[in-house]
Symmetry: C2
Subunit: 245 residues, 2 copies
């Protein structure tokens, strides 16, 4: 399966690395499309969400009349329909991971979510993903949206809580690195269990005295105070009030 990856960002670079040695792969500059192989079987558009449609239009004008290459984008947020105007079979080829420059990853562990404009396209894209990963699933826009919401909760928001913890510590002359071993162990524990089964902390224990003392101590950081309150209430509701009904 000859694959072309259009893009120069982190996702494109990591996909290229993941495919090398597993299938023929060429990286293509999204602006010129100059290196585009005419005989590609799959063309992955791996550019910013808002640029996908434009790159696809340019791409269609460049491909030879006879080409039946599958064209897929790699975005979790965009519908497959953004490619719907093309005369080619189209799809989505979405790796659920955050990719940083020069940080190696174990691609075999990354889940890929695939959609195709017909079952043959889905099968071909799943095969391509299967060259890299042991975790390949079909997923339409609605499933990808659910995954995206869960990722925002589980990754973007947790990172923000670490930033807020960093704020609280700095303000008191302490350092977030003091929490690193605790954060890493909390993460390990949540991945080896259902996170809901290993919840700890004052709200989980129903220790309203400590919750109140912490809220009082956060009076001069109102943003953090309100987040502390809503999350403590959510934990209390889950582990205590529910059980009392």
């Amino acid at each position: 399966m000859k694959t072309a990856i259009i893009g120069r960002g982190n996702v494109a670079n990591h996909l290229d690395k993941a495919f090398v040695g597993k299938c023929g792969v060429v990286m293509v500059n999204p602006h010129t499309l100059g290196e585009l192989p005419c005989d590609a079987d799959v063309i992955l558009i791996s550019v910013k969400d808002d640029a996908i449609a434009e790159v696809a239009r340019h791409l269609e004008s460049m491909l030879p009349e006879g080409s039946n290459a599958i064209v897929a984008h790699t975005s979790g947020s965009k519908s497959m329909d953004v490619l719907g105007f093309m005369r080619h079979p189209v799809g989505v080829f979405y790796p659920l991971q955050t990719f940083s420059k020069d940080v190696p990853l174990d691609y075999a562990e990354i889940p890929f979510f695939i959609e195709g404009s017909n079952p043959d396209v889905a099968t071909a894209l799943k095969e391509l993903a299967g060259l890299v990963s042991g975790h390949v699933h079909e997923a339409d826009s609605s499933v990808r949206r659910t995954l995206h919401i869960a990722s925002v909760l589980a990754c973007n928001f947790t990172n923000h809580l670490w930033a807020l913890a960093d704020d609280v510590l700095r303000r008191n002359g302490l350092d977030f690195s003091m929490l690193h071993p605790l954060v890493k162990e909390t993460c390990r524990k949540a991945m080896e269990n259902n996170p809901g089964d290993v919840q700890t902390g004052p709200a989980r224990r129903g220790d309203s005295g400590i919750v109140s003392a912490h809220l009082e101590a956060l009076a001069d950081m109102p943003g953090i105070h309100d987040i502390y309150e809503i999350l403590s209430n959510s934990i209390t509701e889950r582990y205590h009030e529910r059980n009392q009904l």
Copy 2:
């Protein structure tokens, strides 16, 4: 330094493991105190917060008249004053980590926070902690409260967000394990940088279209909806509104 650890829980067990081969250490049953060595230099009370005072009273009645052992509790939440009634020098010996049964830890990385009723006690307890860890700090009740608040934000609340993400995924027939690689990489990235510098996601990008679509999709999970909203607003305030002032 001959050390006795009173307790049978995870903290007591891990402290025992950490000290073995580094100093003379004996574990003591908190109910009978039967195995208590009369010549201990340091006695660590590692029991539930609410039991510390009672164990300390029992302990004082058991120790020989001449004993000048340092008595310290291992709680992050309790003041040193809970031991203030004792005729012994007292302190706090607090390892900032979550301890699970049978899960090995790299004790050298765990930060220990020490308080002593006088400078000599603090020095002795810091020496003891230094046998195990390369990260030993002095910390009074106020510092420990700050650390506790930051830990609740960085660990208890992040675990709860993982539980909520798990809820969202299950409800849609998906599985939290699909997010494991993303969560692990997010955690790695936050530990190798300042978390505030590596924030990603729709709110960070100022993508209010996606934030609104997610909030709409969460309309039937009002608890999660409200948490999504307050955390997105907090991110927006941090990265966008601030800059516009």
